[in-house]
Symmetry: C2
Subunit: 301 residues, 2 copies
């Protein structure tokens, strides 16, 4: 039941009303891998530059995250992001971003990872997403994420990627931008018509909407009093969703709903502290305890 | 099990991307009464002017809504609101508003209504809300709504009202404005400290959050593809919530959660068509059928 995750690995500097962290490990692949690993081993594929600090990988090495697909590229620099959250902290303001190695060739998937059952193509150039996917033999489930940059500038390539995946996880703004449709349910229907079997539209503190050809399921987020750093919440959602999904024999609606609940809970942990701090030691027991109270909250009887 | 509802009764003109209605019946008391009446008789208290069109009350007269508390005041004019929704229709733009009779003395509660078990003080001046409440002998449950105008200009009076009610239903912007707290859960806690036993914070298309001293419950809205006119959604939520609650022997958490589900479903009907059209003939059977699919959507197993 192997899960391959590929996406960005970066060095983040983040400031929120609760404090600031400087030069900490971040990126879509890092958050999603740490959120997925309580469910079983994760195979990480990504590229960093030669400036990547040695000790930064320690939190991954202490978990069942296989780093054989992590390339440290000589002569290149690691992706860097500096962001800031203010007020209700609904949206990150990008203070500075340097794509660096992310603007170069993608990572190579190790031969030993080619039999992966589930693949998460976290946000990167849609052509790189397909290159990556082509190196995996016959995956059961493939899910991708995307962002405004590719929706605006690489639409044709993105549509090719969407035609090849089982599911898409993206946020409401991206769903609207991709489809040109304001109503988020109609946007979901339009995305399903592009190929995927399911779509999950994330709405941050307002929860998520799961859609298949036959169903529309809205779920709230976990009510959280103290959001210290929202960075990585969406990637943690995807990681929790995929980590759980990969443990399942099928992906019927009941399974997908349970996966959304796990994604929701993963995100609720991430935002409680800066960077990856809250995920580093997170156990499946801690997750399931919170899932239990989440489902109890949703129970109306 | 009598339910008294008091609030504004108005003449609305509303334009949305789906069309326009001119001089139709509206107001908080109208929407909430129509949303509550499928659960049992409603006692309506409110004031209109002598310009109020005779036929406009027909939809209320065809239901179990007792209009003995409806005053048609000679020499006064009915409250009028002209509004517009654009794009995602999340927020009404007020094009024109004339308080008219709402700026005068409040309505008198008929002696026959003084034994009401449940009272909904829909949005009006907080001093009028207390005047109204003083005319009811010993109600089991009293819920109020409010708005930015009173939060900003009549804070002391509003706090007096909040100290006298069992519950408050308001939207997230109002909750933040009332408390000065950005995080909506913290805002809810601050409101509970003002007196009420429960608070429901409405978030429009993103659902609602119910809070008591011991519980925080987030619920999504019903995913809706075609929102034709959001006018009255929040008042319908309150009406469905209170109509159901009034049928119950207690107001423990399980009851309040079921009431939120009914409020959510009431709002989902209202927004499907202009003005009160969708509510006029709505039956309890139609409501319960939709409640069933709402609860099925929330079931994760």
């Amino acid at each position: 039941m192997s899960l391959l995750i590929t996406g960005s690995i970066g060095i983040d500097t983040v400031e929120t009303p609760y404090g600031k962290v400087t030069d900490v490990i971040g990126g879509t692949a890092i958050y999603s891998s740490l959120a997925a690993v309580p469910y079983g081993p994760v195979r990480l594929v990504g590229v960093v530059g030669e400036d990547f600090p040695d000790g930064a990988l320690a939190p991954l090495q202490s978990r069942e995250i296989d780093l054989a697909g992590l390339e440290r590229r000589a002569g290149s620099k690691t992706f860097r992001w500096t962001g800031k959250y203010e007020g209700a902290m609904n949206e990150a303001q990008t203070v500075d971003v340097s794509l660096n190695v992310l603007a170069e060739a993608g990572a190579k998937v190790p031969a030993a990872f080619a039999d992966s059952r589930t693949v998460f193509l976290a946000n990167t150039h849609p052509t790189l997403q397909r290159d990556m996917l082509a190196q995996v033999r016959d995956p059961w489930t493939v899910v991708c994420d995307t962002m405004n940059l590719w929706i605006e500038n690489e639409r044709a390539s993105l549509l090719e990627t969407l035609a090849k995946v089982t599911g898409v996880i993206l946020n409401d703004g991206e769903a609207r931008m991709l489809t040109g449709v304001v109503n988020v349910i109609e946007a979901g229907t339009a995305i399903l018509s592009m190929g995927p079997e399911f779509v999950v539209i994330k709405k941050g503190e307002h929860g998520a909407i799961l859609m298949t050809a036959d169903a529309v399921v809205a779920m709230p987020a976990l009510p959280t009093r103290e959001v210290r750093d929202p960075t990585g919440a969406g990637d943690s959602f995807a990681g929790g969703f995929l980590g759980y999904l990969n443990t399942q024999p099928t992906r019927d609606l009941a399974v997908l709903k349970r996966s959304v609940a796990r994604g929701t809970v993963a995100a609720s942990f991430t935002i409680e502290d800066f960077s990856i701090r809250r995920l580093v030691d997170l156990t499946r027991e801690q997750i399931e305890e919170r899932v239990k109270s989440f489902l109890e909250m949703l129970r109306v009887e």
